[in-house]
């Protein structure tokens, strides 16, 4: 039996690696994804482009502008002279926000009259917009605080004679500490997820196509007249791609560590073990796809149907917590969700079996079930 399995594995590997173009396709997509996610995908908002509309033109308004620019988060890219130009800057996405300092700004502040600074934010991208609003609010609040002591001192001195100025003004200061990713690099969050993503995409597709191709070309009949038994066929068809998947994992992990310097705090052995468990689900899914499609085109379409939702609803790019509750329930059915949690836990948090056992158990149950069901279905589809 092992002899026959070995023969099939060899045949599959030869078929998969025969063409140079095929070889690149096996290893190029993982690399491209890694580079794009490592370098390009960045949700951090800095250097917000703002249009500065100063209708006051006083030292104080210039000071406000300096504190916007000095915060390191804002770049003034335009100075619209009127309403129309300001609107145009937002329309053309030249600026992400317009800050408008009203006339009499300085006079009002000096007279102790409350005044406002208007900030118009382009809300097209709601995520960026809420960050920009927060930053702008903070800059204005700090500026406001810095001009307040002047007036307070005046008032404290005048209203409570005898007391020393500025005492008895308590303050609460937030001290924030960010764990696991103190510099808040998006890269540290995304790159580990790519590991999961790549195994899934590569192995589901390759397994499904390896079988459907034989059906389509008619070589499946030839295989069936040989003494190869279904279980041997299944093993022979899936094991080579398991190997390809593991090689991809090793490749991606080393690039993540060496080039992107993503922290790896957990146990490599645990990651490797979980990758194998996860592979059972993806190979099972591949087998399953092959049983429900007759042509390669159908298999590819179906594959797209499976892998894209698995990717989108895995928490890889979009937090599951933000999804509607019904869809959150749906994600419990997604094996990739568990693996992403495992990968991130192992990479960033250094989590071990004690923390990750529910995810590992879910994956294992899932893997065995899918693999069994698909193998049974596949068995039937051979008869």
């Amino acid at each position: 039996m092992w002899e026959r399995i070995r023969v099939i594995i060899r045949k599959e590997l030869i078929q998969a690696l025969r063409e140079p173009r095929m070889r690149t396709l096996l290893f190029l997509p993982p690399m491209v994804q890694l580079i794009v996610f490592g370098f390009a995908v960045n949700l951090d908002v800095d250097h917000v482009r703002i249009a500065w509309m100063d209708m006051d033109h006083t030292p104080l308004s210039r000071e406000l502008r300096a504190s916007f620019e000095g915060s390191g988060r804002f770049d003034v890219v335009a100075q619209p002279a009127n309403e129309q130009e300001a609107a145009d800057a937002l329309d053309r996405s030249v600026a992400q926000a317009v800050v408008r300092v009203l006339p009499r700004f300085e006079r009002d502040v000096h007279r102790g009259r409350p005044t406002e600074v208007q900030v118009l934010v382009d809300g097209t991208n709601s995520n960026t917009a809420s960050l920009v609003s927060q930053y702008a609010g903070q800059v204005v609040a700090n500026f406001s605080n810095s001009v307040m002591p002047l007036r307070q001192n005046v008032r404290v001195l005048t209203r409570s004679p005898g007391g020393p100025p500025n005492t008895g003004a308590p303050e609460v200061v937030p001290r924030t500490r960010v764990w696991f990713n103190p510099d808040l690099h998006s890269r540290n969050y995304f790159v580990p997820g790519v590991v999961a993503n790549i195994i899934f995409i590569v192995t589901v597709m390759l397994t499904a196509l390896a079988i459907v191709r034989e059906k389509e070309i008619g070589t499946m009949e030839q295989l069936m007249v040989t003494p190869v038994r279904p279980i041997e066929l299944i093993l022979g068809k899936t094991l080579p791609f398991a190997v390809v998947g593991l090689v991809d994992v090793a490749l991606v992990t080393s690039v993540a560590l060496l080039i992107f310097r993503v922290p790896f705090r957990g146990s490599p052995l645990l990651l490797f073990f979980c990758a194998i468990v996860f592979l059972m689900t993806s190979l099972g899914a591949g087998l399953f796809l092959s049983t429900i499609s007759h042509t390669q085109q159908q298999a590819m379409m179906m594959n797209f149907f499976f892998t894209t939702p698995a990717f989108m609803l895995s928490g890889f790019a979009f937090p599951i917590r933000n999804m509607p509750v019904a869809i959150q329930w749906l994600t419990w059915l997604n094996p990739m969700r568990y693996f992403i949690e495992i990968v991130r836990g192992v990479f960033l948090k250094g989590a071990g079996v004690a923390v990750l056992w529910p995810q590992i158990a879910a994956l294992a149950i899932y893997g065995v079930l899918i693999l069994l069901l698909s193998a049974l279905r596949f068995h039937k589809s051979l008869d």
Binding site: P170, S186, K349
Partner: protein, 377 residues
């Protein structure tokens, strides 16, 4: 080029499409399903942040501060703990994202009129969520601090003290900051790109694999006619997909549509031309359907999803990659979609994007025809 031959290949390809019912159904249903699923699911907005509180001080002052967090809809206080271990465990298990720790000497410092610290611990693994959470939390504490200060000064001074300068924030185009309003228009563009690539990437590779290409070769058909005829057939499907996707966006998601419908139709058509020609080009370059599919998906789905500005803004990418995004057609259609849907801008603002789409379609058409010629020769 003969219109008759063009029509013949167009009809042949239409037969191909309609004959395989399962694939056709998928091609038509997939966009709707993707839009419905992802339109609701994909969101980067942060609220109801699961939070733990560790109050070492246990005084009315510390409870007053805690009320600022429990009263905010951004935070969802899950409970109170009395040691750091519990916080660590909860963060490790992804149960909470943030913890507020009020130190033992908090109220004492306040009573003395000194500076009191509040510790905020955040799980940084999701950097985007973390930085938003950090902003919210610090705003809450700072705001509370100012209020506390002015309360005490007021008690002493008698007159109300208000912060002299107030930021008046106004959000344009998407004033409720709903993420569906920005996800859905971009998503429509991304879905069209994927469908176009999926539909066409196999069309020529399949003929090679099945051996029907030889039959086509023996006819007087010319490469231009094959490319155009095939494109036209899939254009019909693509247009149907676009119509359905737009309808779902407008009717189901109620995304505001503020711009010109004509501009929308013209740019969708231009974009479809470009993407379909690209699929045909890929298909003509590949030897097998598997390769064609892989190349098609890799060259359309990934760039459309990641480099188009659909969710990940291009501004924050490194220079080199920003330059690369200039050759991604999805980037232009995403800009147009968002512009027409949300901003209501017209030709005056978007003409450059349109020209890029035209150029792209023209160049890829030439490439595809040349590739076909090479293959047929």
């Amino acid at each position: 080029m003969s219109p008759r031959r063009l029509r013949a290949i167009f009809i042949k390809e239409l037969h191909h499409i309609t004959r395989d019912g399962r694939s056709l159904a998928m091609a038509l249903l997939m966009p709707v399903m993707m839009l419905l699923l992802y339109g609701y699911a994909l969101s980067l907005d942060v609220d109801h942040v699961p939070t733990l509180i560790y109050d070492q001080d246990q005084t009315s002052a510390s409870r007053d501060l805690i009320r600022q967090f429990t009263g905010s809809r951004f935070f969802d206080v899950q409970g109170y703990v009395d040691n750091y271990r519990a916080i660590e465990r909860a963060i490790d298990r992804n149960r909470i994202i943030m913890a507020v720790v009020i130190p033992r000497d908090y109220s004492r410092h306040l009573d003395l009129g000194e500076r009191a610290n509040v510790q905020i611990l955040i799980d940084g693994s999701d950097s985007n969520t973390a930085s938003i959470v950090q902003g919210y939390a610090e705003t809450v504490v700072r705001g509370y601090s100012i209020q506390l200060r002015s309360d005490i000064l007021n008690r002493r001074g008698g007159e109300r003290l208000t912060p002299p300068i107030d930021a008046r924030l106004r959000v344009w185009y998407n004033s409720s900051l709903e993420s569906k309003n920005y996800v859905v228009p971009g998503l429509i563009a991304v879905i069209l790109q994927i469908i176009a690539a999926l539909l066409t990437s196999l069309t020529i590779a399949r003929e090679w694999e099945m051996g029907t290409m030889e039959q086509l070769l023996s006819t007087p058909l010319r490469p231009v006619e094959i490319v155009l005829g095939k494109m036209m057939a899939y254009f019909v499907v693509g247009l149907a997909d676009a119509a359905v996707a737009l309808a779902v966006g407008l009717l189901v998601f109620q995304v505001p549509f503020r711009g010109s419908p004509t501009l929308m139709v013209v740019s969708v058509c231009l974009f479809l031309f470009g993407s379909l020609f690209w699929g045909i080009f890929v298909s003509a370059s590949a030897r097998t359907q598997l390769q064609a599919y892989q190349m098609g998906v890799l060259s359309s789905f990934l760039p459309a999803f990641l480099l188009s500005g659909f969710v990940y803004s291009i501004d924050t990418m490194p220079r080199v990659i920003q330059v690369i995004t200039r050759i991604v057609p999805a980037r232009y259609i995403v800009t147009i979609m968002k512009g027409v849907f949300l901003k209501g801008v017209g030709w005056r603002v978007l003409w450059l994007e349109l020209i890029f789409l035209i150029l792209y379609a023209a160049i890829v058409f030439l490439l595809a025809t040349r590739k076909m010629k090479q293959k047929l020769a």
